[in-house]
Symmetry: C2
Subunit: 285 residues, 2 copies
Amino acid sequence: MKLEKDSRILIVGLGLIGGSYAKALKKQGFRVTAIDTRPEAIAYALRENIVDEGYTAVKEEAVRSATLVVFALYPKVFTAWIADHQHLLAPGTLLTDVTGVKSCLVYEIQAMLRSDVEYIAAHPMAGREVYGVENSDEKIFCGANYIVVPTEKNTEEAIALCERLGKTLGFARISRLTPEEHDEMIGFVSQLTHVIAVTLMTCCDNTHLVDYTGDSFRDLTRIARINDGMWSELFLLNRPALLRQMDLFLGEFARFRELLDRGDEEGMREKMRLSSARRALFDKK
Amino acid sequence: MKLEKDSRILIVGLGLIGGSYAKALKKQGFRVTAIDTRPEAIAYALRENIVDEGYTAVKEEAVRSATLVVFALYPKVFTAWIADHQHLLAPGTLLTDVTGVKSCLVYEIQAMLRSDVEYIAAHPMAGREVYGVENSDEKIFCGANYIVVPTEKNTEEAIALCERLGKTLGFARISRLTPEEHDEMIGFVSQLTHVIAVTLMTCCDNTHLVDYTGDSFRDLTRIARINDGMWSELFLLNRPALLRQMDLFLGEFARFRELLDRGDEEGMREKMRLSSARRALFDKK
């Protein structure tokens, strides 16, 4: 298993992220094949030269000839694909993914997978508020974080290759987390923030506010345009971690409310100074 | 009272916003004087030709010769300035401000003000996470919202002039709200969002997350670098409205938590679709 110019990469699921992977890998000179059930996606990708080959159904020859398969599917579709089609994979094939939740998925797939292929989980921390290969853009990976999520079943060789894939795609920082660490972290930085953004838009009929609002509200609600099918599935698959993170936030929000309610200016200022100091670290990187 | 090229504009408080006003108005050809207690601010502004005249104390001649005075001070300092120095103003002078809270301020100042000058409140919805005239930039007004906040005491002439000032500064949309409408609105779009950003940074020690986070968390916490002195004062002066908006948000957040907790996928998707539809309106403008 190597990531060399003669690697044949198959991308299963040619949406925004799958399409962005295809663009980045094609530009690096790799041969890229894609499978997606949406005919428009495949037609577009072939026309725009984003992939070398594309199919709207699982094509045996395309799967068998791949040395690296990237799954960019919704979690449940991904699991079903492995169950239905793993017999088509060539021995030694490396599988990876882009899925936003891990514990509920990684162990299940590794448990059902043939022993002569290997699945190493990864999560590219990049996205846009628009969907589909038509909006794909490999530049979203530039400066972003890429997380490799190995388990005890993974070989060092596969982990290293997955890290090289992250670098090849253009990610700025490559990290490793366990599935459990990943899910807790993602529950906080990604899922909780989406819940907050959605709640800001649904807690009152605020559509007229566009005439008054400053950048703060725009920034906090940018991600409130949300793919309801995908995100509700991700939330439910990470329910315990997300509920924990929501409760953590709720408790602290209630503490701040209490400080304001009793007019504790110094208490509020202390929170603001801690917040400023912590956030300043983010701006340095 | 007119906003003409021979208007003499005095800016009291030459920080980020006062400095940005000065830059915008100087570029439009107005004669701009500034008063700020910080010697470095005045020295910088004179050196950089941001103002024509600058003083570190209240200079009688500078106040008397002004036809328009813009107050860019913390709320309590603003009120104290009027009490102490309003006798220096020439009859017919128009006063306006940039303060982020209104009901607690506007009626009090209008009640104490001499009857031969007029104060028309305004709120430029623009800012940055950095402070001081050294970081001022008139481009922050471009595309932003400007809100005029008249009361029954204001003349149509003053309201119209204040609106022209907003246009002259480069704001894209000029609106009118009552002080009460303004404070409720600002409690939601600005103050609540700052409480959320601060809470996200203080609810756990998340400084290590910079290695994993995507854009969502960065966007939601950009405003978590916050001037604790100014914002705690603004929060306390708008306490009832901000508490109402926090409770509105809390209630809806708890409802979403309940949907997740009982696995109500369709309920969550409904919230997400409403959120997406509402947020889409913002992107059109």
